[in-house]
């Protein structure tokens, strides 16, 4: 039977693997930024692995991991603030965001396919910043130091780059849809 199992040792390993993007997405929505989301994803993965025996096979791993992620996020928010305080989102808002996210999800899959086209269209410096931040996982400070600009400028640069990508993906998506209709 072991031979039938592919590369992964534990059945949960594949499940965790599949849950990475949805959970990361969830954490980004909770924290509003990638750096924190990444840290929390790491911690979530660890906890998931530790508690792998409590996972009921056949249940939804994404939902399970989201619960773990949410706890980490709550703990972390307290730590970050260094005082007793509420997290970035309150429960109402979190629900609103998740509800809206689900509404949007279907469209998102098609849009994501267009990302490659749009990355090509980015101005060089914006694409460089994206590479540095997302691919090389550099911090804002690191990127800023290397180019002699402050982290705020880099954050704005990244923000503009993302906005360009968002706009571009939307535009391409509309155009594609038009073709489909034709």
């Amino acid at each position: 039977m072991k031979a039938l199992q592919p590369e992964n040792d534990h059945p949960l390993e594949t499940e965790i693997e599949r849950a990475q993007v949805p959970v990361l997405g969830y954490l980004v929505r909770l924290t509003g930024n990638l750096a924190d989301a990444r840290d929390l994803l790491q911690a979530t993965n660890l906890t998931a692995w530790e508690k792998r025996d409590s996972f009921e096979t056949g249940s939804n791993a994404v939902v399970w991991m989201r619960t773990i992620a949410r706890n980490h996020y709550r703990n972390a928010s307290r730590r970050w603030q260094r005082r007793k305080t509420v997290p970035l989102l309150d429960t109402d808002l979190e629900q609103m965001i998740e509800a809206r996210h689900e509404e949007r999800e279907q469209e998102d899959a098609r849009k994501r396919r267009l990302l490659a086209v749009c990355l090509e269209k980015l101005p060089n410096r914006q694409r460089d910043a994206i590479e540095n931040y997302y691919l090389s996982s550099r911090t804002l400070e690191e990127i800023g130091d290397a180019s002699g600009r402050n982290p705020n400028a880099i954050a704005q640069l990244l923000h503009r780059a993302r906005q360009n990508l968002i706009d571009c993906v939307k535009k391409e998506s509309h155009q594609n849809r038009d073709h489909e209709i034709l």
């Binding site: 997405g25 990355l119 590479e131």
Partner: protein, 1176 residues
């Protein structure tokens, strides 16, 4: 900042650090409130996720048997087994490969991340920064529309700085901050780096030296004298859109000349100056330059000389007298006045000019002319505005303004009385009337609006108007936040606001044509010198009417014939009911099977309703009218559920067409010849339903249990052509709606008489059998009813009204102080329901302080405004008066002397005039005399190529000003030249010709007791009054006025637009007012010049209208047009007769119709000449 800008800001911040509690609350609030922001947030979250996932940069660390425990640090670079993040789509793989490839190629050449100066893909040469300085100025890094129109605020629409640019000064003149730099910084920088603390970005403020030179963590925005150390400069010339200032998304662009100026200014030491308009004017030395008429010319000549411009010669005297007449009275000179001036001018031009000034300044029309711009500023109107826009009465205030100008009331008194006349010791009714200035704002009584919010809006309007009109300050900008450009905080705004928040006005008031409180009854301030002649004229007219017998036989024959014919061939024609609707809420109603209308459950309160009925006429004979029959309720036998127990109708309107229409077509209404009813209650006569206003009503007699109302069309309605009939019936007061009625058509003649039974019985008998009393009854009927006597009756009514205007007290809205004045609070974001700190009345700290021992009052404010210490009031006032005579102020932004305002074209002249004005005792006529006496004013307005090149907008006044006449004066000229003008001053506004449907289109016609919902044209002399008396209904401006840019008076306007559109020609050619003026002018011309031949008469007509003789080509063109028109009308006498009967003034039948028509065309053409519509 809009929601998207806000969320962008938060997203950038979240990338850098956690939010504070306050920030988080704002952030959450934004997401909850704004779906737009929410989507933007999710867009970025998702993009973050995709990019992170796609990059593979994150990995899960899992290793064989070793599982790090919670406390163990997780190392990204560790040699654990990596599970790459799941990749969902093929495209994402491509994304990775694209990035990967780029990274590889990139890293070969440049291991460091990119920097704009080394980015090989940009075109800018890789040079050290220093050498880029000049290149950046020369290069156009971005191409943007140079005619940008978006102001940073997006709200108040000032003319852009480039709208009427003052010619650029010689390039070697030292840069001056206030003149050259502040306007640039204000327009492009202050929005984020100005006085508003809350909106300030990057902690940088550029409106003060201190702020601009502050060290912001190693960078300094402006280092005086050192361009390369000035961060602001680098940001301005950056080709990196992330660094560029102003940022691309602001859509603000600095032009190259602006950049050059900033560069020079920094290089020359970046000297700041206090804002010029906030420093008191000091009388400057008058430059002496050659022969000048007065001081004005000294300043103007000196400035023009700087630009190498020489002044133009004096205009010819014909032009001069026309210019002066229009400028001082808004009316053209008469033919005789032109000739008198020409003769005098030939003798002694200066004396002639001064005498003409004297004569015109003393004309009662001077006050009318000066009132026009003042009414614009004071947003004077005859209706309340907002949705219902019902009538109000503020003409006493308007007449106060006219009289104040005519009396030459010093400007300080003029201002004090309008701001605080009610607070003056022993205030006179006239002084209290003057305070109507700040009650001219719009007022609503609409149900469902919030009184507190309305009151806040009213006070805000008073602040906006008062500050713009008297102080040239855009204080309104500080209603929701600190002013972005000027030193006025939101707190100071509300301190100023509280002066105007203490009166006893109500938040929902002004219905039924009754002035909103506070109001007073006062008499007109106009001189009553015309009273004796009015009274004798009235007496004569009344006698004429009372003794009139002319035409009584014809009238009687017709009336008797009608009475005998009553009911002949009468037959009810049932209509097919297609639809029944009501715009208001009458309760439950339905169409019964027989097509009648039935209100089964009327509302308990109310009962004032309109019902629109859609019918189809049966095929067959045309119907002559409609009959509305009312039936008792089957259960309680009552006609209505209300106290009156009867239908009460204010009006009935109808239209017919070839398509089904649920609503009456107001531009195509059927006309009714007359109305009658089965009975009437007291004086509630059936004829009242023909008047569409809600003033009088029809109601049947109490014992009439089956009443009906009959309306006869003036033309039968033919079902073959227009089978669809729509009838709107107004039950025009509360408790007026009946239970059950039906509407039918009829054939033959109405069965009911329009006369009472007594009258009818007399009329039906032979005249020989009448007793003396019966004879009197018939004579009275003739005098009251006969169409031929209508003009006389109208004249009598108008004369009586005019006498009442001058002798009786009338209502007018005023300011007062409530017994318990409202407290004023700073309102968070300007929201009426978000009070913060309580404040008391005060003025902005940046201006001289307000003197008051106790709590400051409006009177203290008015005195503060007109104190000679106040740097603004006199400058603003003289600038506005200057604008009247030159088209543009010395400061083009006449309502904004703040940072966003324009630097004056002639700052020294402005100050000189302001000081002179104050020292003269704020004497407006003397200031005006000074202006029109100058040789600057008297110059020829023709321009040469050099002038057009150097100074296209004539800001330097090296030639005379010329502009199109104001809307009012275009019409006044036609009236004056034709002799139709009735030059009475003041009184209630009038309703001359206009398309009848306009008001109904926008009003609550029929469903509100508010007045001015339906336009009923005036008759007689009121058709020919000056245009400033034409009624201003805010939601439906008079088309002829609107076409020529008269504002709708919804808010304070200090500068009118001047447009040229084809609509204007349609007005001056086709508006009955203008067509009538042309034909009356033509009839007079023919009458007054019987001996002239065509050529001579053309010349005379031309000269009468334009003030000069035609040249030969003009005369030839007119002669050829004349012969064309003559042959046209000789073959169209019907057309000719129609043309000479346009309008209500009687046609002159002593002249041949064809000749009148031909000359009407000539006159119309002359009235339409550009030269005629322009004040040269």
């Amino acid at each position: 900042m809009n929601d998207l800008e806000s969320i962008d800001r938060w997203l950038c911040l979240l990338d850098q650090r956690p939010l504070t509690d306050t920030e988080r609350a704002e952030f959450q609030d934004l997401l909850k409130r704004s779906p737009e922001a929410m989507d933007r947030y999710l867009d970025h979250c998702e993009m973050n996720t995709w990019l992170a996932a796609g990059s593979g940069g994150d990995a899960i660390q899992l290793e064989g048997n070793h599982h790090p425990t919670a406390g163990e640090p997780v190392s990204r670079a560790g040699k654990q087994k990596l599970i790459p993040i799941a990749i969902g789509t093929v495209a994402a793989v491509i994304a990775i490969s694209v990035i990967g490839e780029r990274i590889l190629t990139k890293q070969d050449s440049d291991p460091e991340i990119s920097d704009s100066t080394t980015d090989a893909t940009t075109n800018s040469p890789m040079e050290p920064k220093n050498s880029l300085v000049d290149l950046a100025v020369v290069d156009q890094p971005r191409e943007k529309d140079p005619w940008k129109v978006i102001n940073a605020t997006g709200s108040v629409k000032h003319p852009g700085l480039k709208d009427k640019p003052i010619p650029v000064v010689a390039s070697d003149r030292p840069v001056k901050f206030n003149r050259d730099i502040r306007p640039i910084l204000s327009e492009t920088c202050f929005h984020c780096h100005g006085p508003d603390e809350h909106g300030r970005r990057a902690d940088l403020r550029l409106d003060s030296l201190e702020g601009a030179t502050a060290d912001l963590g190693g960078t300094v925005a402006i280092v005086p004298g050192d361009l390369t150390k000035s961060e602001a400069w680098w940001r301005i010339i950056s080709d990196d859109e992330d660094e560029l200032m102003p940022p691309p998304e602001s859509h603000l662009v600095l032009t190259e000349p602006q950049k050059q100026l900033i560069k020079r200014w920094i290089e020359e030491g970046a000297e700041y100056e206090g804002h010029w308009a906030f420093e008191a004017p000091v009388r400057p030395q008058v430059p002496s330059s050659g022969a000048i008429k007065n001081e004005i010319d000294g300043f103007i000549r000196a400035r023009a000389a700087e630009e190498g411009l020489t002044m133009s010669a004096e205009a010819n005297p014909r032009t001069l007298i026309r210019r002066l007449s229009f400028d001082l009275t808004g009316l053209p000179p008469t033919h005789d006045e032109v000739f008198a001036f020409l003769n005098a001018y030939e003798n002694d031009s200066e004396a002639a000019w001064q005498n003409a000034i004297d004569r015109l300044l003393n004309s009662p029309h001077f006050g009318e002319r000066m009132a026009v711009p003042w009414l614009d500023q004071a947003r004077y109107a005859d209706t309340n505005g907002y949705s219902i826009d019902g009538g109000r009465h503020m003409w006493l205030w308007r007449d106060w303004v006219i009289q104040a100008y005519n009396e030459n009331k010093p400007f300080d008194e003029f201002a004090i009385e309008q701001i605080a006349g009610d607070l003056l010791p022993n205030a006179t009714p006239a002084q209290i009337t003057a305070t109507g200035f700040n009650r001219n704002h719009m007022i609503t009584h609409e149900g469902g609006t919030i009184p507190e919010e309305n009151l806040t809006n009213y006070a805000a309007d008073r602040v906006k108007t008062t500050s713009e009109v008297f102080l040239g300050l855009t204080m309104a900008c500080a209603q929701c936040h600190d002013h972005k450009y000027d030193p006025i905080s939101i707190r100071e705004y509300y301190e100023f606001f509280s002066f105007f928040n203490e009166l006893s006005d109500k938040g929902n008031d002004g219905n039924r044509g009754v002035n909103a409180v506070p109001n007073i009854m006062a008499e007109s301030v106009l001189p009553d010198t015309e009273l004796p002649s009015l009274r004798s004229e009235l007496a004569a007219a009344e006698t004429a009417l009372h003794e009139s017998e002319d035409g009584i036989e014809e009238w009687l024959a017709e009336v008797q014939n009608n009475e005998q014919q009553l009911g002949s061939g009468f037959e009810i024609i049932e209509l097919e009911t297609l639809d029944l609707t009501a715009p208001n809420r009458p309760g439950v109603f339905e169409i019964l099977d027989d097509g009648s209308a039935f209100v089964s459950e009327p509302v308990l309160r109310g009962g004032m309703n309109a019902f629109s009925h859609a019918f189809k006429l049966p095929a067959g004979t045309p119907v002559n009218g409609i009959r509305i029959r009312f039936f008792p309720h089957p259960e309680d036998n009552r006609l209505s559920a209300y106290e009156a127990n009867a239908p009460i109708i204010s009006t009935v309107v109808a239209s017919a067409g070839d398509q089904e229409a649920k609503q009456v077509e107001h531009y195509n209404q059927l006309q009714f010849a007359h109305s009658s009813a089965s009975s009437q209650f007291e004086t509630m006569d059936a004829k009242h339903v023909l008047d569409e206003r809600n003033l009088h009503l029809w109601r049947p007699a109490v014992d009439d249990k089956k009443p009906h109302l009959t309306l006869t069309f003036d033309q039968p309605v033919n079902p073959e052509e227009t089978p669809f009939l729509t009838v709107l019936v107004f039950f025009g007061q509360n408790g007026a709606t009946p239970y059950h009625w039906r509407i039918d058509g009829f054939l033959g003649t109405d069965t009911d008489s329009q006369f009472t039974q007594e009258e009818q019985s007399v009329l039906l008998r032979d005249a020989t059998s009448w007793s003396p009393e019966e004879r009197d009854i018939v004579r009275d009927l003739f005098r009251n009813e006969a169409e031929s006597l209508e003009p006389l009756r109208i004249r009598i009514a108008n004369l009586r009204e005019r006498i009442e205007v001058l002798t009786k007290a009338h209502s007018t809205m005023v300011m007062d102080t409530a017994p318990k004045p409202r407290d004023t609070f700073v309102l968070d974001r300007g929201q009426y329901d978000a009070p913060l700190d309580k404040v008391s009345p005060s003025t902005p700290a940046t201006l001289p302080s307000l003197e008051s021992k106790e709590k400051a009052t409006r009177l203290d404010l008015a005195k503060w405004m007109t104190s000679t210490e106040n740097p603004l009031t006199a400058r603003v006032a003289v600038n506005r008066i200057w604008q009247v005579f030159f088209g543009t102020g010395l400061v083009a932004t006449t309502a904004d002397f703040g940072s966003q305002g324009e630097w004056p074209s002639h700052p020294e002249l402005l100050d000189w005039l302001a000081v002179e004005f104050m020292e003269s005792g704020w004497d407006q006529k003397s200031l005006i005399r000074k202006i029109v006496s100058s040789s600057t004013y008297r110059q020829d307005s023709a321009s040469n190529p050099e002038q057009r090149e150097k100074d296209p907008n004539n800001r330097l006044l090296a030639r005379g000003p010329r502009f199109r006449l104001a809307a009012e004066f275009v019409r006044d000229q036609a009236l004056a030249k034709s002799g139709l003008l009735v030059p009475r001053i003041g009184g209630p506004s009038v309703q001359p010709y206009q398309p009848a449907g306009l008001w109904k289109e926008v009003s609550h016609f029929g469903s509100t007791p508010a007045t001015k919902q339906v336009f009923v044209q005036d008759r007689g002399e009121k058709l020919y009054r000056r245009s400033l008396y034409t009624i201003v209904k805010r939601t439906s401006p008079h088309p002829a006025m609107a076409a020529f840019d008269a504002p709708n008076r919804e808010m304070c306007i200090t500068e009118r637009g001047v447009t040229n559109t084809p609509l204007q020609a349609l007005v001056t050619l086709n508006d009955p007012q203008f067509a009538e003026a042309a034909r009356v002018f033509a009839a007079r011309l023919l009458k007054d010049s019987p001996t002239l031949d065509d050529e001579q008469r053309i010349s005379l007509a031309f000269e009468k209208i334009t003030g000069r003789a035609p040249d030969s080509s003009e005369a030839n063109a007119l002669a050829s047009f004349l012969s064309d028109e003559r042959s046209r009308f000789q073959n169209d006498t019907v057309g000719a007769n129609a043309l000479i009967r346009v309008g209500e003034s009687p046609a002159d039948d002593s002249q041949p119709a064809v000749e009148q028509a031909v000359w009407t065309q000539i006159s119309s053409l002359l009235f339409n000449l550009s030269e005629t519509l322009t004040r040269l």
